[in-house]
């Protein structure tokens, strides 16, 4: 593959040769979006579009990769069963420090997101919609776009913008619902899930803004065209926030199924310097050099025991100690969890203490045994996914990097002796990609 030097100058790029669906060079005006057939067909046929979305195989881009059509149908059914009009929420609250795609989309393509939200409302029957976010620049962009589209008669759907303080846990879908309902932007335990009872107790579709940004393409071009990129089970393109590896972070639009090795070439990271990857932002855990054999789709990442999550990939160099990276990420979880569920605020603090001790060469057999046990028994014990992310991190460190763990216990770590990896928000990308 030809090496591109685009990454040397640009923090945002589509994969070479890809007809980009999401990324464009300049922020998109209403005129530009209309010229590209945006906001077309003001009353889309609900059944027809939802069937097309189902055939497209569109999966959620917020992290869980849940099929969009199944979620929309669940909302419709709950609305029918309960006799209530549903609500649609565009979730742009990207609490994940290693990801910048949602804020980038809202800042640069607010009309694409609003058009997607309009279509999501149409297929679910929602008469009220919200955009939920924290980034001030994104809020300004999407508010201006909404007002402009409405004034031009292109957006009849009532759309409110809900702005909260940024927080890791604020992006979870029940946190969005609670905040819109006037509560704190913190997750709630389930049930009920938002599709059952969400905003104003109504069945609520909460969709990530990148997910919504895929709907206009399906609406305009159909399911077959949508599937021209990607794999059977992971159709379409996706936004990947790539950081680490000794390179400045870049936001890419990539076809699902791209071999990870090709991304490394594009990102100008020499394969031999890669020791692993922190997957799915902070959520999906660490992967060792087996990562070199994976493709960037849900099937392939699942097969190596991890996940694409929100599409954020942090490359560990051979100068990054995985133990120290894990300790920094776990400390983040211990600090930034919602402080609600006892298993989470105790479990993340306890695992963080062990990982700090391990990094500093002070962990004993009992500490490691406890960490190993917590990495199994704490799964699923929180109201949201934060504790599961912490568990993924601990379990994957122990399983994927046993030599690094042993080195820290036996004779000390050469890497940590030279340049200890210690940072409050590992692989944070905002300063570069959203500059």
């Amino acid at each position: 593959m030809e090496t591109s030097d685009v990454t040397a100058t640009c923090a945002v790029a589509a994969f070479p040769g890809l007809a980009a669906r999401l990324i464009r060079d300049e922020p998109e005006s209403l005129d530009a979006y209309l010229a590209a057939a945006g906001y077309e067909n003001r009353q889309p046929a609900a059944g027809g579009l939802l069937d097309a979305i189902e055939r497209s195989g569109l999966r959620g881009r917020g992290g869980a990769a849940f099929p969009f059509a199944a979620k929309a149908r669940a909302v419709r059914k709950a609305a029918r069963d309960r006799g209530l009009a549903p609500v649609a929420v565009a979730n742009g609250e990207e609490g994940e420090p290693a990801s910048a795609k949602d804020r980038w989309l809202l800042r640069h393509r607010p009309h694409l997101v609003l058009d997607g939200l309009r279509l999501a409302a149409a297929v679910t029957g929602a008469g009220q919609a919200y955009v939920y976010l924290s980034d001030p620049a994104a809020a300004r962009a999407v508010t201006a776009a909404r007002d402009e589209a409405r004034a031009a008669g292109r957006l009849e759907l009532p759309v409110e913008i809900t702005v909260v303080d940024p927080a890791y846990v604020a992006g979870e879908e029940t946190a969005a619902v609670r905040a819109i309902n006037g509560g704190p932007a913190k997750p709630a335990d389930k049930p009920p899930r938002p599709f059952q009872a969400g905003v104003h107790n109504r069945p609520t579709l909460v969709s990530n803004v990148e997910t919504l940004a895929n709907l206009p393409f399906v609406h305009r071009h159909g399911a077959d065209a949508y599937r021209r990129e990607g794999t059977h089970a992971s159709p379409g393109t996706f936004l990947a926030t790539v950081s680490g590896g000794g390179r400045p972070p870049v936001l890419y639009e990539l076809p699902h199924g791209l071999p990870f090795r090709e991304l490394l070439t594009l990102h100008q990271v020499p394969e031999e310097t890669v020791s692993g990857v922190l997957m799915g932002g902070y959520f999906a855990g660490l992967l060792n050099r087996r990562a070199l054999g994976m493709s960037l789709d849900h099937e392939s990442t699942r097969a190596v025991g991890t996940g694409l999550g929100c599409g954020a990939l942090a490359v560990l160099s051979d100068t990054d100690c995985p133990v120290a990276v894990a300790a920094s990420v776990m400390a983040y979880f211990a600090r930034e969890n919602a402080g609600q569920c006892g298993s989470c605020f105790n479990g993340t603090a306890a695992m963080s203490a062990v990982l700090d001790a391990l990094r500093d060469g002070d962990a004993d057999d009992d500490d490691l045994a406890r960490l190993s046990r917590w990495s199994r028994v704490l799964r699923g014990r929180g109201a949201c996914g934060t504790l599961d992310g912490a568990v993924n991190l601990a379990a994957s460190l122990l399983a994927q990097f046993p030599d690094s763990v042993a080195r820290h216990r036996e004779r000390g770590c050469d890497l940590c002796a030279i340049s200890p990896f210690r940072t409050a928000r590992p692989f944070e990308v905002e300063a570069v990609i959203l500059a």
Binding site: D81, P187, D189, P191, P192, C341, S343, N346, A383
Partner: protein
């Protein structure tokens, strides 16, 4: 066990409310598991409560000092 009939009792535990008193697990250990710090999770979230366990589970509900356990509304069990 109940066979998933409409009448089966189901419960929810709000772990954002649980303060780790452990009363639930003392009354109905088959339905509540405690972590190392004493905080509860349901042993089988969403499962029907067997008729013979309903008394113990009801004791757990009534004795929870922070009211973290509730009987699940019928519309949320489908």
């Amino acid at each position: 066990m109940n066979d998933g009939s409409e009448d089966a009792m189901k419960i929810r535990l709000d772990r954002t409310i649980c303060d780790g008193f452990g009363t639930c697990a003392a009354h109905a250990p088959r339905h509540f598991s405690l972590d190392d710090w004493g905080y509860a999770s349901l042993a089988a979230p969403g499962a029907d409560i067997a008729a013979e366990d309903e008394d113990a589970v009801n004791r757990a509900i009534l004795d929870c000092p922070v009211h973290a356990i509730t009987v699940l509304a019928r519309e949320l069990t489908r």
